[in-house]
């Protein structure tokens, strides 16, 4: 993917995140510095509890850092907003609304000031068609499969035409086949929309297959960025061809080496 002229579209500077807990302050992230270029696909990978989601929430603006600054397009991130759309791990669709209404809620919020009702509906239909859910538009989340729900979640995020797409382990709860299918769809959509993407994952293959840059995080508490790996595989990427590619194997090995040799996860018994 061609990376545009702005190499620091998202700019994270010296971010620290401390949570107050009953046992005193808990430092989740420390001294995190990261730059994401416009149009870049970045994966955050690390063991569970290493603060990947915390970092994503910071970029989303759902939480504010205790120290440091986060900039998006040269403006400080002071709170959540539709220009930084989030796809949540558990889809977070409203169960009393149909798929159409779930997406429409987002579309309406962003575009109702400038567009007519018919245009808003057309937008919603278009984005549902993009994720292949036209047939399920009038169904409620309880009536469709997990993969379909996650696609509605992605459609809702995409419908806002966000500058940044934030994905929090979007495919974590899905079976391997559905996950592969949605990854391919996501690759196509991202290629089409040229979106800047930050994705949290714990799946090495997913990280290598999808991203331009893999940000590997050290173990918490006080986690930080251990290493950043640039994935220079040509796009469009094909998972079948890549499976035999030596480059792909090398990237994969680099990540595995980081995760399992240098940052081997130590389970703490005292939670």
């Amino acid at each position: 993917m061609t990376v545009s002229a702005n190499p620091q579209y998202i700019d994270i500077q010296g971010v620290e995140q401390t949570f107050k807990t009953k046992k005193g302050p808990f430092c989740a992230l420390q001294n995190v510095n990261l730059k994401v270029a416009k149009g870049e696909f970045v994966a955050l990978i690390g063991h569970s509890g290493c603060g990947k989601s915390t970092l994503l929430n910071l970029i989303a603006g759902l939480t504010l850092p205790t120290q440091g600054v986060l900039l998006c397009a040269n403006r400080e991130i002071a709170g959540p907003g539709p220009e930084r759309a989030v796809v949540f791990q558990n889809h977070s669709l409203l169960p009393w609304l149909t798929c159409f209404e779930n997406v429409y809620l987002a579309v309406e919020r962003v575009f109702s000031a400038t567009e007519s009702k018919a245009q808003l509906k057309a937008r919603t239909d278009a984005v549902l068609a993009m994720v292949g859910l036209t047939a399920a538009a009038q169904k409620r989340p309880g009536e469709i499969s997990g993969g379909m729900k996650q696609r509605v979640g992605i459609a809702r995020a995409l419908s806002m035409e966000p500058k940044v797409l934030l994905l929090d382990e979007p495919f974590g709860a899905l079976d391997a086949l559905t996950r592969a299918k949605l990854q391919d769809e996501l690759l196509e959509i991202v290629a089409k929309t040229q979106a800047t993407v930050v994705m949290v994952t714990h799946d090495v293959d997913e990280a290598v297959l999808l991203s331009d840059k893999i940000v590997m995080m050290t173990n918490g508490p006080s986690a930080t960025i251990g290493e950043v790996l640039s994935v220079e595989l040509a796009r469009p990427r094909n998972r079948v061809e890549l499976a035999e590619s030596a480059d792909y194997q090398q990237y994969r090995k680099a990540v595995i080496d980081f995760l399992y040799t240098r940052q081997a996860h130590v389970e703490k018994l005292t939670a």
């Binding site: 709170g79 949540f88 558990n90 977070s92 409203l94 009393w96 809620l105 919020r109 309880g142």
Partner: protein, 313 residues
């Protein structure tokens, strides 16, 4: 559920139109049937479920409730026998009930009205008191749930006032409203407001954080948050509050009416006690029980209709 009693195995093989009608009828009887089975088995009246009509169904679903009722009648009969019929026997009571219900809506002066009028006027009091409580309690619950400050402010008040027996409020009502009827309504109001406030507030506090995150990411207006997220997700809690409130109100109205007099099922019980008409008292107990059961059952059905699958993480 009891509805399945009305279906023979032949009906399962009946043409679709007929079984559709039968299932509607079953739904209707399912609502009215005095059953304490609160599970969603009413939904089981689909044709496939009806073919499951067999010995085990009879054994598990039909026989136990019938045996329970039978046991009640048996004990009643024994007690009646033991007390030398000062407690009337089930048969005498039943015969009395038949005459009573053959003319439920007569009026012979203010202190002698049909059982129908008594039940209706009690229900009316409950409806007014309960309606006012809902009008006040649900918005208050929303506010308390939404704002931690208000929650801390009102929690001590609620904790202090909630355990007070509603009847203790009756004299205050009589004093302030200078009338029996408004005082009874006031009592219903004060006893049904707490479950609605508390359940609504808890519901608001328990709105999944995910939904609120969605609201924040989409940057929804407060109005949209209330109508699209808070209200639908609080609704099941609110309806639980409503159900508890109605049950309490129905418990309280009988006692309140005994004290205030007038027309009403509670007053009727007291009046029949003064007449030493024990048969009518027993009938009144059944009527109160059945009406309470119907109220409860109707609200449970309402609640299940508005309960949606939660997001599972």
């Amino acid at each position: 559920m009891v509805s399945a009693v009305f279906h023979s195995p032949l009906e399962a093989a009946a043409p679709p139109e007929r079984s559709a009608l039968a299932s509607i009828a079953a739904e209707a009887t399912g609502v009215a049937a005095p059953t304490i089975n609160m599970k969603k088995s009413a939904n089981a009246t689909t044709p496939s479920a009806r073919t499951a009509w067999d010995a085990s169904f009879l054994w598990l679903r039909v026989l136990p409730p019938l045996l329970g009722l039978g046991l009640l009648v048996l004990i009643w009969e024994l007690v009646s026998f033991g007390t030398g019929a000062s407690i009337p026997s089930p048969k005498d009571t039943f015969l009395q009930a038949v005459t009573l219900f053959s003319d439920p809506f007569y009026r012979h002066g203010p202190n002698d009205q049909g059982v129908g009028w008594n039940v209706l006027s009690s229900l009316q009091r409950v409806a007014v008191g309960f309606g006012l409580a809902a009008l006040v309690g649900i918005p208050v619950g929303f506010m308390i749930g939404r704002f931690a400050f208000l929650s801390r402010m009102f929690n001590p008040l609620i904790s202090l006032l909630r355990p007070v027996s509603p009847l203790a409020w009756l004299p205050i009502g009589l004093l302030v409203f200078k009338g029996a009827d408004p005082a009874a309504i006031w009592t219903i109001f004060i006893c049904s407001i707490w479950p609605m406030i508390i359940n609504t507030a808890v519901g608001v506090q328990r709105v999944p954080q995910d939904y609120m995150n969605v609201a924040r990411v989409l940057n929804l207006s407060e109005w949209k948050i209330v109508t699209k997220i808070l209200f639908p997700s609080v609704l099941p809690y609110m309806l639980t509050g409503v159900r508890l409130a109605v049950s309490t109100a129905w418990l309280v109205i009988v006692a309140a009416e005994m004290l205030t007099g007038g027309v009403g099922i509670g007053f009727w019980v007291w009046d029949e006690w003064n007449n030493l008409n024990v048969k009518n008292i027993i009938i009144a107990i059944f009527v109160i029980g059945i009406v309470g059961l119907l109220l409860e059952h109707a609200l449970i059905r309402l609640a299940t209709a508005f309960t949606f699958e939660e997001v599972k993480s």
